[in-house]
């Protein structure tokens, strides 16, 4: 069959063996690639419920999307798939009851995996010493990585190139944070792009796998070359010279949303207690563009280039590998009341060097700041750090503590839920997480009907990318499986349909219903895996804060979310999903219809 390599690479770090496994046409047809195919494989590996996410039995997968490697604009994303080391069921039946985890990154690693001849890399087992996986087409080696231990992301990115002796290799790796066991460690590539959410880097660290390094020379084929070219032409037109994507979104990237979100009162501010940030103009895209950013950077064949690099000035001056984005700018900026643009870039730089998820990090710092402000904890608890709102220096000290897992850092490295458990004193009310996974930078008040659904029903714990309704959720699942970037794909022309792309590449001629059902299937499979571990509707709960604390400013000032109203929205959701209204578990008929069981 055309359009796929038809096989995945499996590396067993315990026995130090590698082998390939062929996949059937049916598996591609039902699960496409990326997140979907990863979940299908995960469901086969997790035969035992309650598998320890940090144990050898948990597989860690690098799954390039179906479109990875094709020069289709903005479709080069790789999905990390594994079992989450972060989430926990409220009524666990087994010790290690956790959700599935998936996390998405751009860059160049996905296409290179496809070029090397694989549709995914599955790492199982656990090594006793640090290793990295070397892949050059059929040549696969598990090599010693002792000398790279503790190396920061930016340093490693160059060091691995020297090690393999050729700049054409692409790599994905973890930083020292994930190596030491920070639960929200991320998998990085190119020093700045990361699969941040869901703790996939932590799983990689537990396996003592420092990196994978890949290079491939295979050619990509399409089932219908003429259709493919037609679609490619349409896609490129979406990013023409006068398109909004080019004139507006290349200018500021996702950071354009910083101002927009604050204005409409949907930003995470002061540990999610406010939706509008008064200092936003100092850290928005215009400020960053004029003060820090120098370059635009694109992922593989992307025509938008949302990523920025530059140089910060002043006390926090230095090279900026990763300019602020909406999420990083909000979580380490607005959420902590920090409006020092240079300091903010410094914090992002340090966090990325440790390789830890900045969304969770911003939550952890915000939560601790609120506890400190409310005098629930003192400086002794914080190892002497005076963690006051709006100050960069104590935050930097805290990030170092977390990255090194020292003192309070070892506790903070376990996330907000763990901190609220040890701090107590009703701090649970403002511990911003769902299932133990912290919320992202979009605040809930006033947007609960969509965002609330996204956060509560997301299968990796709170997630802003999941989608606020059933159709949107199925579609975002499909995007992750195809490797399409959610941000850039927003500007695809309306006459461009993903299922036509699937047809051009693989020859699968899916109807609109079959196409959407594929997304539904993947989403339900994830849900089913979670429910098997003991998760149910009680776990789909928003933090108490949103039902109690009203904003004091902005368009949604004074509003609090009504619990009865939100429950009825949720009722509607479960009913339409074909899940049990009381338990939230997918009904037998639903799973049967989707060919999951």
């Amino acid at each position: 069959m055309k359009g796929v390599n038809g096989k995945i690479l499996i590396a067993d770090l315990t026995t130090k063996t590698t082998y390939t496994r062929m996949l059937s046409e049916q598996e591609y047809k039902l699960y496409l690639g990326g997140r979907g195919l990863g979940m299908k494989l995960l469901s086969e590996y997790l035969t035992d419920q309650g598998t320890d996410p940090l144990g050898p039995a948990n597989p860690l997968m690098f799954m390039p999307g179906l479109l990875c490697g094709y020069p289709f604009p903005s479709s080069s994303r790789t999905c990390m798939v594994t079992k989450s080391p972060i989430t926990k069921a409220s009524k666990p039946t087994k010790q290690f009851a956790s959700t599935v985890s998936y996390s998405n990154m751009g860059g160049f690693i996905g296409p290179e995996i496809k070029f090397a001849g694989y549709d995914g890399i599955v790492v199982i087992g656990r090594s006793d010493t640090p290793v990295y996986l070397f892949i050059e087409n059929e040549r696969v080696e598990i090599r010693d990585a002792q000398k790279f231990k503790g190396m920061t992301s930016n340093m490693f990115d160059e060091a691995i190139i020297k090690e393999v002796g050729d700049r054409r290799f692409e790599s994905a790796y973890i930083g020292p944070g994930a190596e030491r066991g920070v639960s929200y460690g991320s998998v990085m590539n190119t020093g700045a792009r990361s699969a941040g959410r869901g703790g996939t880097g932590c799983v990689m660290g537990a396996k003592q796998l420092k990196a994978i390094v890949v290079r491939g020379s295979n050619n990509m084929e399409t089932a219908d070359p003429l259709l493919f070219k037609e679609l490619l032409k349409t896609a490129r037109l979406s990013f023409g010279a006068d398109s909004e994507s080019k004139t507006n979104w290349r200018y500021g990237g996702t950071a354009n949303a910083l101002q927009y979100s604050s204005d409409r009162g949907s930003q995470a501010v002061k540990n999610f207690s406010e939706g509008t940030f008064s200092g936003i103009e100092k850290i928005n895209a215009h400020a960053a563009r004029s003060r820090v950013w120098k370059r635009d950077m694109a992922c593989f064949t992307c025509q938008l280039a949302c990523k920025k690099s530059g140089f910060a000035k002043g006390a926090y001056g230095g090279v900026v590998n990763e300019g602020i984005e909406y999420e990083t700018g909000t979580m380490l900026g607005a959420n902590l009341l920090i409006d020092d643009l240079d300091g903010l870039h410094k914090m992002i730089e340090i966090a990325d060097d440790y390789g830890i998820d900045i969304i969770t990090l911003g939550n952890v710092l915000g939560f601790l700041m609120e506890c400190y402000d409310k005098k629930l904890i003192n400086t002794e608890f914080l190892d002497g750090i005076e963690l006051n709102w709006g100050l960069v220096e104590p935050c930097i000290s805290m990030i170092h503590k977390i990255g090194k897992m020292e003192g309070i850092g070892a506790e903070a490295a376990k996330g907000v839920r763990h901190l609220s458990e040890i701090i107590g004193n009703n701090s649970h009310d403002f511990a911003i997480h769902v299932k133990g996974h912290e919320l992202a930078a979009w605040n809930v008040q006033g947007y609960a009907k969509s965002l609330g659904i996204s956060y509560t029903t997301a299968n990796r714990g709170a997630c802003h990318m999941t989608g606020g309704d059933i159709n949107g959720q199925n579609l975002s699942t499909l995007r992750d499986s195809l490797g399409i970037c959610s941000f850039a794909a927003s500007w695809y022309r309306n006459d461009l349909h993903f299922r036509h792309l699937i047809k051009a590449i693989t020859g699968f001629d899916l109807t609109e219903e079959e196409f959407m059902e594929t997304g539904e299937r993947i989403f339900n499979l994830e849900r089913w895996l979670n429910c098997r571990e003991g998760f149910d509707r009680d776990d789909d709960a928003l933090p108490e804060r949103f039902f109690k604390d009203a904003y004091t400013s902005g368009p949604h000032k004074g509003v609090v979310l009504d619990r009865t109203e939100f429950n009825s929205v949720m009722d509607e959701y479960y009913k339409n999903r074909g899940w049990n209204l009381i338990t939230g578990i997918p009904e037998h008929g639903t799973l049967k219809r989707l060919h999951i069981i």
């Binding site: 296409p111 160059e158 992922c299 001056g317």
Partner: protein, 218 residues
Amino acid sequence: MPLSRKDFIINSFWASSGFIILNRTETVAGTLTGNGPIKVIVADYDRCTGCRTCETICSAFKTDTSGDKSPHGPGNCEQSNIRVWRFMPPVDIPVTCYLCHDTPCVASCPVSVSAETGRKALYRDESKGTIVCDLNRCIGCQSCAETCKTERSGVIYPDPEGSPTGMCNLCDGQPQCVAWCPYEALSFVEIWPEQTKYSTPQIIFEQLKHKLYTIQSH
């Protein structure tokens, strides 16, 4: 029309762009001796985002046998004649064959000059200006690739038989990488070859790093 001296300095001097680095002190047109201007592909590093669309376009164009080449199908970047080198801190350097006027690659070719054609195994096709390998005479010693790598753009690499490939053929006068670059970072312009100063990607990176990421530059 040849690019004006001023325009070219603005566009292509290392401070803003150009894989070919001009020597500022020299004067131009009219006073020049030797051959006239040639057209080459010039990169603007301020515009390049490192997306590697050029690589996929080039390899697709080379390997596409369908006859319908526009737009291009998929292609593996490995087979491209243009290379985007990514460095840390983030700088992306696209390079293709510089079409150097002094052709050190040809100079390093150990194969004797043929009495019949007056050419070595590697030679410049005078009608197009491009560097070509005579596959019948090449001994696969990699001298040209080695020389190009240490002194120039380093685009020459061995094909499966060990003969040099990767030299730009300018797509018969319509370079596809230039036509399809989403960021207008590549242009096909006339330059005066004797005035150019050639650098390796590593050296260009060092200069750009200094420009973008040091305190002195602010």
